[in-house]
Symmetry: C2
Subunit: 162 residues, 2 copies
């Protein structure tokens, strides 16, 4: 499956993966979360690849080692790992699609508390040129920047609460 040209999806070294899985095992013990076979193998699978697989893909691969594992467990574990800060999902959680009639090139500020999205422009970003390592990957057509944080309203609300 993997050959020299498949450099996009290079797997990490066994040692690096073991390290990450070991760290998580320790964290589980510390927090009273059970370090089950399924969880370890799911993390091992994800830690060993850079191709950002979806739940179904992780499921298919882990099943080679744990044939009886269920897709639900994969979903549940991915959610757990995300909550524990061990993995993240690519791009901000997008439950439903949102639309934009502004077709001029622009970027977004996203409030992670209330979900508000505000457009902005930046000359600094317009001048951005992809680094050579990216140019080597292929052709870049557009640059999309998302700044994540808290809008003033949500910051204020959080302050009042505490």
């Amino acid at each position: 499956m993997t050959n020299k040209n498949d450099s996009y999806f290079m797997k990490l070294t066994r040692k690096q993966v073991d390290q990450q899985v070991g760290d998580f095992t320790a964290a589980c013990r510390r927090e009273g979360v059970k370090a089950t076979h399924q969880r370890m193998e799911i993390l091992r699978e994800l830690a060993g690849t850079t191709e950002h697989p979806d739940a179904e893909t992780v499921y298919t691969r882990v099943r080679q080692r744990i044939p009886a594992i269920s897709l639900d467990t994969v979903y549940r574990t991915l959610r757990l790992l995300e909550k524990k800060g061990v993995i993240s999902r690519v791009s901000s959680r997008q439950d439903r699609a949102r639309f934009d009639a502004n077709m001029d090139h622009h970027h977004h500020f996203v409030c992670e508390a209330c979900g508000r999205i505000v457009d902005f422009n930046s000359t600094a970003l317009d001048d951005f040129r992809p680094p050579p390592e990216v140019a080597a990957l292929g052709r870049v057509d557009s640059v999309h920047v998302e700044l994540r944080g808290r809008c003033r309203t949500c910051k204020r609300a959080a302050g009042r609460r505490s």
Copy 2:
């Protein structure tokens, strides 16, 4: 609903909206697509706001003017408008969630043809400071950059096809 402080979601002027709706009407005539009442009102709704609403929200609002409109029509029209390049969806189409065990700060190159996602780093982006207009909106916690384009493999495949 709208007050002076609600500057995030300022509506555009009537004139700008009319312009955009008129342009689309013309494009419809040109391409033999029917410029129905429903389509025009959906575009009008989206063109008149900067808050990047989802389908359900557009539906609720347009229904105030066309009570008998259905949610399906909203979905169908949004898809049509997107295909015609009149609107876009916020963030790249994410049918299914994808996960990443690399928790170091990094950015993504996304091939729009095959969906491959490759991580990269950039000192230029690490140095990026949000413009003052964004700082005024709230606190920025992280910067996520997505470069969209074609990977070498897909570029090559496209060339062979033509």
